[in-house]
């Protein structure tokens, strides 16, 4: 009786229940942990434990793209998908070894704070604020869109309604709780999203390879008794259909190298990630929480390529060369959303899925690989609903983190430090909350009316971060002689080069049509150009520095001071 009742509930009701419970939880946490001072609003009071900060960083970091799209992208890219896996995890090594401990010791609230003080210059601070806003806005628009898409797919509401619901939730807990509120909601969101990602992965790994650990399963043998390895089988299927071998990929080595580097360095330069390390108590906690964050991130990231292989094999086996009349339910269901489409070009009633675009009859959206995976594998309804709750947790946690960076950039870096230094503590807190409201509205606007280039630009936020912040911060810590002239010139040249390359080769605004790949400099794609722009930044910074005066003595002392971990006071104005 009971199981009948449960089965009768359906995906829709399960989704309402799970999303309802998790949202109530987030709001409850926000009320419990609301911020009473600017210090709580910007850096959660500076007393977050390394474990909580690690979990919050992981949730902050893993966006709708990591949760929903990444496994799907890898599924279609094969080996090439490694750029995201290595790029988005390797950056944490840079953070832990080169940035986090020193920025924590420095003890301020924001990245522009560091740039402004270390380079003793309002201009440097303004350039940094501009870069922070540019990076965060391009990134957050994609998140709001992600929230809308998840809502519309699982709850069957309009995408715009979904965006507005998401805006209200984020508004509530980011404005009320500030960094303190989002830290503890992110802890909860990490738990939701990792559970939601792992459960279907484990089920499917058992089905296909008999191994409950997906990371091992994807290098294992198939359960069909043939003794064939899963990856060999997928390589075979891929070449049979005319695709590149799954484990080989198709991008050039130099481009793989450049993209991986740009993503690593970009990750380490993203303001919403860096700022999380201002919230812990001591320098050693900053190092440790970077380690915990990466461990928690790798849990999902090492599972994603396994999911990619399971999903691709499952999909090819289920639909390739099968009669269209016999397709399973999930196929028809996702067809109505437009994410799968089939045109019987040769009218033989069979689904032909091949690399050749002229002959191919099946188009599959990459997002399906995670969203429809539980259905493809016949998992219970509650697992499917769980994926919706997980996707929302991933999108909301990242959006909230970014909104906070935006509001702090406006209220702290612009208003308090430049426009009106005499503003009272209370006034600054009100300004911070108002800027958060403003930022949510702008993000929501872009979520509802996405300019055509948002999707293209989100991936490039990393390039922008790599080209601007990373060299300025690294040189600020490791090169005492680096001065304001060098750093400002480097940031301006780096971010300009990145923007120009992006506009020319990604958006195609300079030419009638988008230039061909063969025109890329050194064969490097716009996604990988962040590495080159970063190098340019380093070179320009050092050259200009050589011809301009050394920084004043007190700044050199600041540098000596941040290199020593003891006496990391609490973050101050």
């Amino acid at each position: 009786m009971h199981s009948l009742l449960v089965e009768g509930m359906g995906v829709q009701n399960w989704t309402y229940i799970l999303v309802g419970i998790t949202f109530t939880l987030y709001i409850g946490i926000a009320i419990w942990s609301r911020a009473g001072s600017t210090k709580e609003f910007y850096v959660a009071g500076g007393g977050v434990s390394p474990l909580a900060n690690g979990m919050a960083t992981a949730a902050d970091w893993m966006s709708a793209a990591s949760f929903i799209s990444m496994a799907g992208i890898i599924s279609f890219a094969g080996y090439d998908g490694a750029v995201y896996l290595m790029g988005w995890t390797g950056g944490y090594v840079l953070l832990a070894l080169l940035l986090a401990p020193y920025l924590r010791k420095f003890g301020k609230f924001t990245v522009p704070d560091f740039i402004g003080d270390r380079y003793y210059s309002k201009t440097a601070r303004i350039v940094a604020v501009f870069c922070a806003l540019l990076v965060s806005f391009t990134y957050v628009a994609g998140q709001m869109r992600g929230v809308g898409i998840v809502f519309s797919r699982f709850l069957e509401v309009d995408i715009n309604t979904g965006v507005i619901i998401g805006m209200l939730i984020v508004l509530f807990y980011a404005v009320l709780g500030g960094m303190k509120g989002i830290t503890y909601t992110q802890v909860a969101q990490y738990c939701v999203l990792i559970f939601a990602f792992m459960v279907p992965a484990i089920f499917i790994s058992i089905q296909i390879t008999g191994n409950p650990i997906p990371q091992l399963g994807f290098g294992g043998e198939l359960t069909d008794g043939s003794g064939t390895y899963l990856l060999d089988k997928l390589d075979g299927l891929s070449t049979e259909l005319g695709f590149a071998e799954y484990t080989e990929g198709s991008k050039s080595m130099i481009d793989i190298f450049a993209i991986t580097l740009a993503l690593m360095v970009g990750t380490a330069g993203l303001p919403h990630v860096i700022v999380r390390f201002f919230t812990v108590k001591r320098v050693k906690d900053a190092r440790k929480s970077a380690g915990i964050a990466l461990l928690l991130i790798v849990l999902l990231y090492s599972t994603a390529p396994a999911v990619a292989v399971f999903a691709r094999t499952n999909m090819i086996e289920t639909v390739s060369n099968k009669p269209y009349a016999d397709v399973p339910d999930w196929f028809t269901k996702w067809e109505t959303t437009g994410l799968i489409s089939f045109t019987d070009k040769n009218n033989d009633g069979l689904i032909k899925y091949v690399a050749n675009k002229e002959q191919n009859e099946l188009v599959v959206d990459r997002d399906i690989m995670v969203l429809a995976n539980p259905e493809i594998a016949n998992l219970p309804d509650w697992v499917i609903a769980l994926v919706a709750a997980g996707g929302l947790a991933a999108a909301l946690s990242t959006a909230a983190g970014l909104l906070l960076v935006i509001s702090a950039s406006v209220s702290h870096d612009l208003i308090k430090k430049i426009v009106n230094p005499k503003i009272s503590e209370k006034g600054e807190l009100i300004t911070a909350r108002l800027s958060a409201v403003g930022a949510v509205c702008v993000a929501g606007y872009f979520g509802i009316n996405p300019p055509g280039f948002v999707a293209a630009v989100v991936a490039l936020a990393f390039g922008l971060a790599a080209a601007s912040f990373f060299p300025a911060i690294i040189l600020g810590i490791f090169y005492k002689r680096m001065n304001k002239e060098g750093a400002i010139a480097g940031m301006v040249v780096g971010i300009t080069a990145m923007l120009l390359y992006m506009i020319k080769y990604k958006l195609g605004w300079f030419d009638e049509t988008l230039p061909d790949k063969s025109e890329w400099w050194f064969g490097i794609s716009p996604e990988g150009f962040g590495s080159i722009a970063m190098l340019l930044n380093f070179i320009v910074s050092i050259l200009i520095m050589k011809f301009t005066p050394a920084p004043p003595q007190d700044v050199q002392e600041i540098v000596e001071n941040i290199r020593i971990p003891s006496g990391a006071g609490e973050a101050t104005h």
């Binding site: 490694a82 995890t89 090594v93 290098g219 190298f257």
Partner: protein
């Protein structure tokens, strides 16, 4: 030892650790996962070609280990130089 000398020696040891760990970071990802992928792919461990495994699994595991090794090394170093207060 004076404060300044102490700080300098501490910084030097720190830089040495960072350089060694960053070299490993580079070797497992850009080395094994990208530049030497094809050569390593001739070795197979279970169903994995080794280069592919480093690119999609191994390098990430090494990254995690590197950070925790650094945490341990630095906690010791902080103690040695009296910066653990």
């Amino acid at each position: 030892m004076t404060d300044k000398k102490n700080a300098k020696a501490y910084w030097k040891e720190n830089i040495r650790y960072v350089l060694i760990l960053m070299a490993i970071w580079f070797i497992v990802s850009f080395g094994a996962g990208i530049l030497f992928k094809d050569a390593l792919n001739s070795v197979k461990i279970g169903g994995f070609k080794l280069g592919f495994w480093f690119a999609q699994q191994g390098s990430m595991y090494v990254f995690v280990i590197l950070i925790f090794v650094y945490v341990r090394l630095m906690n010791k170093l902080d103690k040695k130089y009296g910066y653990d207060a």
